[in-house]
Symmetry: D2
Subunit: 324 residues, 4 copies
C-alpha cells in the first residue's frame, strides 16, 4: 500500500477507506453542518489509525466553506463564527493565559502568504495587558503574534525561531496558520483544517525540518491549515481519471479496450504521470486566477474566527472596532 501524501486528514481518510474497502480502524469520523458550512471531525485514536493515516493521533476538524463566500462579506462572517465555535473547545485557556499566534509561510509568494496575512489581522493585546493594564478590559486575553518567515528568507529553521520565542515569552498555547497542499482541485481555498497535533512547516529540504508540536515546544499547539494550491501533476492525474471514467462508461463492455481500461492500475498510472510530467512541470502549481483576492478573503475569515475564539468576552463588532 503506497502512502499518498496529503496534508488533509479528510483526504487521508478517503484514501484509507478506499484502500480498505471502507473498513477503517483507529479513526472516528463525525460530520455535521452549520447552514451551508460542512464540518467533519476526524479523530485518529490508535497506533493503527496513526500508521494508516500517515498522521499523528489527534483531532482534525475540517470546515468546508461554500463556493462564493469570497464575494460576500456576510457569508465570510458566518464562516468566521463557525471557526470561532469550533476553536473555542480546543483552546482551553483561562482568561489570564497567553496565546501566541504564528503565521507560517513566505509572504512574498501569494498562495503561501496566508499565515502572515492572518497574523496581520490578529487582535494583539499582550503588551497592553502588561503595560497599560487599566486601559484594557478584565476579560481580554493576552495574545501575541509573529510571522517568522521561511528558511530561504531568514537562513534559520522556522521551528528554531519559534522555539526561541516560546522559551522567552512562555505562552500557554501556540496557534499556527499555514498553507497546505491538497490532492483535490475542488478543495483549494474551500477547506480549513484545524488540528491538535502540530505541523511540519515547508516541503522540507532533506529531512531536517523540525516539527512544531507539543513535544518540541512544550505547550499545546493548534494548527490551522488551508490548501491554497494543487500541484500540476495532481491536476493532470485527476483529469486522466475523469477521462478514463468517461471512456469506460462509453466503451463496449467486454471488449479488449474496455478490459484494458479496467485493468489500468491507478497507482502505476499516477507514478507514470509524475515521471512523464516532472521535466515539464517541476515547479508549477494550479491556482485560481484571482488568487491574490482569495488569499485576502481567507485570511480575514480565519483571523476573525481566531479573534472570536481567543476573546470570548468580545463580539465580532467589538473586535473589528479594536482592529481598525
Amino acid at each position: 500500500m503506497i502512502s499518498i501524501r496529503t496534508d488533509l486528514a479528510v483526504e487521508a481518510k478517503e484514501i484509507y477507506s478506499a484502500q480498505s474497502n471502507g473498513k477503517t480502524s483507529g479513526v472516528d469520523v463525525e460530520e455535521y453542518s452549520e447552514g451551508d458550512i460542512k464540518i467533519t471531525n476526524v479523530k485518529i485514536v490508535s497506533d493503527v489509525g496513526e500508521k494508516m493515516m500517515g498522521k499523528p493521533k489527534g483531532t482534525y476538524i475540517t470546515i468546508d466553506i461554500p463556493e462564493f463566500v469570497h464575494y460576500d462579506g456576510e457569508a465570510m462572517d458566518r464562516v468566521s463564527v463557525v471557526i470561532g465555535k469550533v476553536l473555542k473547545p480546543l483552546i482551553k485557556l483561562e482568561d489570564s493565559m497567553t496565546a501566541l499566534v504564528v503565521g507560517l509561510g513566505n509572504w512574498n509568494v501569494t498562495p503561501d502568504a496566508i499565515g502572515p496575512k492572518v497574523v496581520s489581522k490578529i487582535m494583539v493585546t499582550r503588551h497592553l495587558k502588561q503595560l497599560v493594564p487599566d486601559s484594557i478590559d478584565e476579560g481580554i486575553r493576552p495574545v501575541c503574534a509573529i510571522s517568522p518567515g521561511v528558511l530561504g528568507i531568514t537562513g534559520m529553521e522556522t521551528g528554531e525561531i519559534i522555539r526561541g520565542v516560546v522559551e522567552k515569552i512562555k505562552p500557554n498555547l501556540v496557534i499556527c496558520i499555514d498553507a497546505l497542499a491538497s490532492r483535490k482541485m475542488d478543495r483549494v481555498n474551500r477547506t480549513i483544517q484545524i488540528g491538535t497535533s502540530g505541523i511540519s512547516p515547508g516541503a522540507g529540504i532533506g529531512n531536517r525540518r523540525m516539527q512544531i508540536n507539543e513535544q518540541t515546544l512544550g505547550v499545546p499547539v493548534i494548527a490551522i491549515g488551508v490548501p491554497t494550491v494543487v500541484d500540476a501533476a495532481t491536476l493532470a492525474n485527476d483529469t486522466i481519471d475523469l477521462v478514463l471514467d468517461e471512456m469506460i462508461r462509453t466503451a463496449n463492455s467486454g471488449g479488449e479496450f474496455y478490459n484494458m481500461l479496467k485493468s489500468i492500475d491507478k497507482e502505476e498510472k499516477q507514478k507514470m504521470i509524475t515521471e512523464i510530467l516532472n521535466p515539464y512541470v517541476g515547479n508549477l502549481v494550479v491556482t485560481p486566477k484571482e488568487i491574490d483576492m482569495v488569499i485576502n478573503s481567507l485570511s480575514k475569515i480565519i483571523a476573525s474566527g481566531l479573534n472570536i475564539a481567543l476573546q470570548p468576552a468580545l463580539n465580532l463588532e467589538d473586535i473589528n472596532k479594536f482592529l481598525n
Copy 2:
C-alpha cells in the same frame, strides 16, 4: 480544420505546419540566435497565411529566453539588449516624435500585472521636453506612459480609454504590453512576442472588445506580449498527449489497444477534456510557484529593452541612472 486559439504566432505556425504536413503558404519564418537567446521571425504575408494562422498580416518576432535568466542580473541585461535590438527597426521614429507606452492588464492579478509593471519602469520624458526643455538632452525622445486598467476595474473598455488619450496626446507610435495565453507549459514566462499588428485585450465578454491597432488608433501599434500562465485544461490535455505517446510506444504494435490509441482523434479528445474539466477547473491557471518574483524580473527585462529602443542616444547605464 479547427482553429486552435493561441496568442503566439510561433505556436500557430507549429499547428498550421502539423495540419498541412509542413506545406505552409503565406507565412515566412526566419530563425537565428544571439548567444543563448533564440529569435524567431514569423511574417504573415498573404490572405491565406492570415486565414490559416488566425492572425492579421504582419511581423511577429519571438524571443526565447534561457531558463535561469530570472536568477541572474547579467543575463537579464543581455535579454534586454536583444529586445532593444529587435525593437529598434520596428520603431521608426524621428527624435522629436512621441511614443506612448500602454501597460494592459490587471495590476491586482499577479500574472496579469506585467503590462502595468513594465509601465512603472519606463523612462517618461514627454513632460520634461515640454516644460523644461533646457534641462533635457537634444537626443532624448519624448515618451509618455499609462496603465489604463481592465474593464472590471474601470467599467470602461480599455480600447476606448486608450483611444481617448491618443486623440488628445497625438503620439506618433503606441507600444502595448500585455500578458498572453500560451498552449505550452515550457513557454510560460520564457517567450516574449513582439508584433506589428496590434492586440485584442482581455479574453472578451461576448465579442464587444475593441482591437488596439493602427486601424482603430490611427497610429502604428507595436504589441509586446508574454505568456505568463497556461490554463488548466491545456495542461491536462498536454499531459494526456504525453501519456498516450508513452502508451503507444510501449503497446504491441497491431493489437486492438494499439489501434485504439492510434485512432484517437486529438481534437475530439481535447474537446472532451475541456467539457469534462470545465466544472472542476473553470477559473484555474497553471503558474510557477514563484510567480511574483518572475513577473518582477520579466517586467524589468522588457522595460529595459524598451528604454534602450526608445532612447538610442543613451546607454543602459544612463537609463538606470535616470530611473533611480
Copy 3:
C-alpha cells in the same frame, strides 16, 4: 491685501473675515452638526466673493470629522453616511445616467494617494449595465472610475487624459478626489471638502495646468478634497504665532518689548519665515507618523460615502457585499 493660498474654502473664509473685520460680502455660510460631525456650507455667490476668497463661485461643503474616527469602524460608517447625505443633492443624476469617478494624485506618495485609493474601493457598474444588463438591478446607476496618475508618472497632463476619456465615455457627471494642502495642522486628515466648481490638480509647474471643471470637461464636476499634509513652513509659522501670543500675554503691557511684539506684521513675518526656512525645508511636509493607516481609513470613509450617494437603491451592507 495679500491672498494667502489655501485649498479649503473655510480657511479662505476665516482669513477673509479676519482681514475685513467680519464684514464679508459675496459669501454665505451655514453651519450645522450631525452628532459629532460638523458640516459647514460656504457659498460663494458674487464676483466680489470670488475675488476675495480666491476661489470660483459655487458651493463648498466642509465635513469636520471627530478625532479618533480612524480607530473606530462604527464611527467611520457614520461619517460615510453623512458624506452620502451631503453628496446626494449635488449629484442630481437620473438612474440611467453615468458617473465617472476620478482619483487624482500619485499612488507612490502616501499622502497623495488618497484619490487612487478611493477609486480602488468604488462600486464600478457601468460595464455590467452594458454587457450583462439582466444580472444587475434596475436601480443600479452606471458608474465607472479611473486613476489617471500624475504628470511625473505619465508624462501627460492629467487634465488631458481625463478630457480624452470623458469625450469617449460621455459621462453625465465627473467626481474627482484629491489630496489638498491645509494651512492648519488640526485640519490635516480631519476635514473633507466637497465642492461644485472643479479642481486644479497638482502644485503646477509654471501655470500650464488645466483646470478640471464644467468649462473644460463639458459636464458638471464635483470635487472632493482632503488636506493630508501641512507644509513645514506653515507649521513653523503657526508655532511662532502661538509663541508670540504667549509672549504678549505674559509681557508687561505698555513696555517696549510688548509694543514690539504687538507691532509685528504677521504677513511680513510669514514672508521672512518662508525665506529663512526655504533652504532648509524645501520639500518637507508635516504628517502624522501613522499616515499609511490614516490614508487607508480616509479612503474607505470617502469611498463608502460616494457609493451610498451614487447608488441610492442600495444600503451600505449591500454595497459592502458587492465590493468584497
Copy 4:
C-alpha cells in the same frame, strides 16, 4: 545642564561642545572624506564622556551622504562601498562565523520601515552552508536575518524575541538596523550612524524597554541607524532660532528689544514651545514628501554596504547576481 535627547553621537558632540565652550573631555573625534562622502568617527572613551554625551562608551561612525544620492544609482553604489569599508574592521569575524542581521522598526510605517527593508535585501546564506554546503563557495560567510516587528504588532518586547532567536541560533555577531530621530532637519535621510554599543529600540513606553547590546545578547552588537524623521516640535524650535538670529542681526544693538532677544534662554524657550505645541502636533513628524522613494533608496544603499562587509570574498556584482 539639560541633556537633550538625540540618537546621533555627532549631534550629542555638538551640543556638548557648545555647552562646554569646546572643551570636551572623554570624547575623541576624527573626520575625513571619501570623495563627496564625509565620515566622522566619534569615540567615547571615558566615564565622563559617557555621562556628558548621554551614550555608552564605544565607537560611533557617522557617514554623511551627498544630497542627490537618491537620484543616482552610481552615487548610491559609492556610498555602499564606503559603508562596507567602514564596517569591515568592526565585524572581526572569521569566515566560518555566523552573523545575524536584525531589521528593527515597523514595516507598516514608511519612515520606520528602513530596518525591515534592509533585511529583505540581505544575502542570506546560513541555510545554504548547512544544507547544501557543496553548492556554496568556501569564502561565503553564513548570514541569517530577521525583522522581529514592533511591540504594537507582536505584543512582545522586540529585545525578548531577538534574545530568544540568538539563544537558539548562536550567531557570533548581531547587526541591527533602525530608524533614528535627529534634531536637525538637514540630517534627515542624509546621515548613517554605525555604532558598537548597541541600540534601544522604540521610543519606549515607560522605561521597560530592553537594550540590545553585548551585555543583553552575549555577542557583539553593531547598530546601524538612519534619522528618517524630525519631530514637529524640533522643526518649530529650529525655525524660531533661525528667526531670532535674524532679528538679533537686524535689531539696534543695545536697545531693549535687542537685549530682550539676547536674554532669551534657549532651553526655557524650547520647553515653552514643546508645551505650547503639544496639543497641536502630538504625533506629527516632518518628512520629505517623497519619503517612500527615499526609504527604498536608503535601504538598498545600506544593504549593499552590509553585503560587501559580510562577504569579503565577493564583489558588488557577484552579490547583486546572487540576490536577483
